[in-house]
Symmetry: C2
Subunit: 309 residues, 2 copies
């Protein structure tokens, strides 16, 4: 393992919101050099530098071929094996791992690691929200996924990007990634601010990168009729009111990002230094100080902690 | 007014589920010949045979131009004026009404009337569910909207269409409209039956044409990851579980159909006798016997009642 990191979703069990009954391997983001392969592996070879994502997928079933590798019929959780470690077993290696053109220089590591989940997830949020040329995109959530949703929307050609953030350092990164407007309000006031910026209509595309009831409603209500909500914040205790959904006229799509669909393109963009998603890592620690990374993210002192095994 | 009819959604107040506090004009489906125009109307002229839908729209605002005329910034309810009547005032006539090439022959009336809502709504359900070539489409609900969702999916090129219906006469019409398979089970068993017909995956596209909690969950659960649910049944006491939505990986879209978007194309298909959606009318009554139409639909003795003023 060359690098791994702490995910916003790792904070749910850390905070006890997702109960943890026993010692449990943690982490599901990873880049590294292949040490050994299983006997059925045909395309991945030892020595390659590879990136995979949180779900292993065969990449051949009907669902994978439709681009939903994170719902692969034979999917397995990679996180169960624990990527915050020196070594990681990745099942279904041929379908799951993508090799870079060469072993990358050290400065590319953070961005390549970001592709493993947080960039892939922000990218899926932007795609699910139909971000693109001529569109105004609003982003609910200023964690690493939300910030990389901004980068993704910009890369996909969005005209205007509204970051919803109350934290100055995150606002700054949001602007670096392409945000054109900042809204500091939340809830009803946040929705009103987005509408004010969009001629009373709401954004064309809204990326939801939190996963709470408040953030989902904020996303739904910030979207104009006919617009798209892309939700990638792992849903926690959310129930959507049917009548409001119905009359909102929005499109809703999201879920666990099929990162595998986007990996070749994302690796390319990083390799060519077109994008620099690694900027979300504002704390780097040796693996044996992982606990400090959790604490810093929990207290929002760090956006995202990179761990070096 | 040449013809009007009773809608499934008229049954909500009829049954007391939507409370009615005072005498209220009813009906929102209409075709007829223009008698008079307002002073601002420029494109519609007296003598034209016209079709409109339940919401009046300017057809020029940004939302209309995006194809969501039923969320027009200046929309007005036509139903408030009551289309089950001899005459109807239609606001925003230029944006709302579409004239046929000529005054139609009498046998085209039922199909043209169907375009006013029930066909337009089924069509939007099929479009929202992304029905098309190579797709397996399931339809939840065998009312007139569900049945015309089948016709629409067929017309849009769907490969296989699963009608979910327990009523023999409706199953027969479903087959006439293009259904290739019938599933009689509901709820958990209905979902299992759809999965069995689709290699364990679920349908690519599911049209939801009821609007209850049970039907929405049946639709969500009958759709494969990456597939689309198009919901057009007016939502009543529905709450969608966020976590299930998230992990289902489906697309969700729907709401009050922007019939105006589809009217020119639908009129064309009817005028050329490519489609015959008027078959959903299995009861025709003079307007002053409208109450019998409501009763017959309420007791499911009729699919849809046409009223002749």
């Amino acid at each position: 393992m060359s690098a791994t990191c702490v995910c916003g979703s790792d904070l749910w069990p850390y905070r006890g919101i997702d109960p943890v009954q026993q010692p449990t391997p943690m982490g599901h983001e990873y880049v590294g050099i292949v040490e050994e392969i299983g006997s059925d592996v045909t395309t991945i070879t030892p020595g390659q530098f590879v990136i995979g994502s949180f779900f292993a997928s065969d990449n051949t079933c009907e669902i994978c071929r439709a681009g939903y590798q994170s719902s692969c019929r034979h999917r397995e959780s990679v996180g169960e094996n624990g990527a915050q470690a020196q070594f990681l077993r990745v099942p279904l290696a041929d379908g799951t791992l993508v090799a870079t053109p060469d072993v990358p220089s050290d400065d590319l590591l953070p961005s390549l690691l970001a592709a493993s989940d947080v960039l892939g997830t922000g990218w899926f949020g932007a795609v699910a929200a139909a971000a693109g040329p001529g569109k105004t995109v609003a982003v609910v959530g200023d964690g690493a996924v939300g910030l990389l949703g901004i980068l993704s929307a910009r890369q996909l050609g969005a005209e205007r990007i509204i970051a919803m953030s109350r934290h100055e350092s995150r606002q700054q990164l949001a602007r670096e990634f392409g945000a054109t407007d900042i809204v500091t309000e939340r809830g009803v006031d946040g929705v009103a601010a987005v509408k004010e910026l969009t001629n009373g209509l709401g954004a064309h595309s809204v990326i939801e990168a939190v996963g709470t009831q408040e953030s989902m409603l904020q996303a739904l209500r910030s979207t104009r009729p006919g617009g798209h909500v892309g939700y990638v914040g792992v849903s926690h205790d959310v129930t959507l009111p049917g009548e409001e959904m119905f009359f909102s006229h929005v499109h809703l799509h999201g879920g666990p990002a099929p990162v595998r669909r986007f990996l070749p393109e994302l690796i390319d963009l990083i390799w060519n230094r077109t994008i620099d998603p690694g900027k979300v890592f504002d704390l780097t620690l040796p693996l044996d100080r992982a606990a400090e990374g959790y604490a810093a993210m929990d207290e929002r002192r760090a956006i995202k902690a990179l761990l070096r095994p």
